[in-house]
Amino acid sequence: MSARPPYDEMHDAEGTIRPHYARFAEWMNGTQDARIAQKRRQAEISFHRVGITFAVYGEESGGERLIPFDIAPRIIPSGEWKVLEAGLIQRVRALNMFLHDIYHDRRILEFGVLPESLVLRNAQYRPQMQGIDLPNEVYAHIAGIDIVRAGEGEYYVLEDNLRVPSGVSYMLENRKMMMRLFPELFAAQAVAPVEHYPELLLETLQSVAPEGLDEPVAAVLTPGSYNSAYFEHAFLAQQMGVELVEGQDLFVDDETVYMRTTRGPRRVHVIYRRIDDDFLDPQVFRTDSVLGVPGLFSAVAAGRVTLANTFGTGVADDKSIYPYVPEMIRFYLSEDPILLNVPTYRLRQDDDRRYVLEHLDELVVKEAQGAGGYGMLIGPTASKAEIETFRQRILAEPERYIAQPTLSLSTCPTFVESGVAPRHVDLRPYVLSGSETMVVPGGLTRVALREGSLVVNSSQGGGTKDTWVLED
């Protein structure tokens, strides 16, 4: 790992408090430890009572856990946010244009910006979507873009999530909790609100409904109450005031989707789905799926219902496509990318692969299609045996992996057992695309609670923080 200490969100290199943390530091100095400890306990009890939990795969049935919540906020000054916001919107616009392009004329492949096989042979590419027109030409209506800060404090995009990104309910619940516990902090400075996210989401969904409808009916489609993110599905449906449906509650008749209600069938126009492509329609994708709705694809293809996000968006957030996103931005928008990409080695290329195999102990190796922090090698902290295993895997199937330099993620002060200590954080803002593309100021900050750990995923012991974007 680099010798230089990681970027500290709160203190500069001399240990001075950064201006945007001044108010918080003042408050922390003026508040007794006992009160803070009490508030932390209160937060935990409250999350339990409210039932903001997630299920963990592989645990005994009904394994429910709290995602640990840390009360020290992650604060972003307004100037930095403006740059992030513009960069996020630019990036997601380009990604949606890319999806429209590859499912229509494939201009980008024609121009040779990225290799054809990378797209057309990608497991996430859905040939069925070829030539299907969508409202506003939007494919990924909800995108979660993972951002990290490294080096001298520059922001990088680590990953695009364009399938069914989760976590936005924690962004909203964390804010609610902080406002309840520490109202005085919000009175002392202007923190940009995030509470209107569900409203923006509903607007976004309604703006992409099939044409000619006065009051389109939206619904959230969940795999059911045993899914790890069920809390979020129910939360969003309730906040938007729409039905939370399971596959069994829907049926398709004459390329039209209906819900089974107490008053008979009712038509649905927009479905915010939280089920993966593979399980959505047993007639087209996995035939053994019992979670989906037979005929759903035909209804989407006929333009009788809009699916958010639609089928086949995974081809754009694949880690093998990721290195080409800056080029997409130039190609479609004729703009320079505002946000940096992490330099990425493409293991299918000979010289990249040679370099990576020689420097495995310095690099992070990821599966091109992995998610959730599974199937990943972090060179600097890995054992010799782990490195060897990955070397063999890469040699066997180089195209399955990418490698990146180990970024020294920035740290944020965090309450741990021994007091307050720096822990590594990332940030996931949520970008909505309907008739326009927008971001609520903030996002979900995830924190690796173990000392030195860089893995922030909740399935791997990560926690969350409230994220404050300060207003001018």
């Binding site: 009572r49 059911g224 109450s225 599905h233 509650d249 008749d253 819900m259 089974r260 209600t261």
Partner: protein, 335 residues
Amino acid sequence: MLCRTASDLYWLSRYVERAENIARLVDLTQRISLLPERLDPGKSATTAWRRGLDALGQLELFGAARGEIEPETVRQWLMLDADNPSSIHNCLFHGRELGRAQRGAITAEMYQELNTSWLDLAEAGEGAADSDGVSAFLEWVKTRSAAFRGVTFGTMGRDEGYHFMALGTAVERADNTVRLLDIKYAQSEEHESSSRDFIQYYQWSAMLQSMSAFETYRKNYRDAVDPLHVSEMMIFQPDMPHSLTACTQSIHRILEVLAQDPRSEVVRKSGALAARLRYGCMSEVQDQGIKAFLDDFMQQLHGLTQAIVDAFMTSTATGNAGSVEPGRNTGAVVS
């Protein structure tokens, strides 16, 4: 509203109500079994608990699972046993699971109440099976149920979901009142002689107390506790919330709101049942025989609940696409 949501909310409120009713039934049984032997000669405590199990239709189930009837074992079975599908433990569990599944359809406060009950159950249940811990636990169960009802009343919009919940409460209540009367009558038949009035007094008082109906009784009758009057109140008194008349009235009113067609099967059935109670009287019941009356009522209630499920909770619509009808387990445990 989705058929599945309607079904879940209906069962959710039935489970909450059932937890409370089982608490009341344990309370009644406990009171009767503690009456001194001289007031109930030859009837050991075991008999009281046997009657309690019988009223719930659980005699066989209990025998198979736990064997001999001992007061402690039956208490444990009814209150905290995870193997008993209708134990208070399982009612709280199912109530919370349904609430979790439908947390989008209920208010956050309602879910918090369900979740709190479930999370605190282990602590509240500690020592509950011991004779001296029982009443504290039963109080807790009743309070939790009341808290949920209160929060529901205070926070939930008067939408379809609210009506399905109210429907579940009324159906479960009617079911329970019949079962309690059943226990009491099965017992009275064992004491035919009128010379046992003092036994009657204590036992029927116990019934009133377990139903929190003693005060209402005093207001209405101003006499010593008389079996006939107690039954009359439990069956016909419209302002007694657990009476069969009150329950069937509210079932009918709710169904009139829920059904789009005023001549639909459910409205017709519930109307007929409500009218029978509303315009009935005790002498008629006595002519028929109370046992026969209760059996007959139970049968009609059962028919009505089936009609409710058919009308609102199962959708027969399928598309050309041949989607499969959801094979939904409505979760009936007692009935």
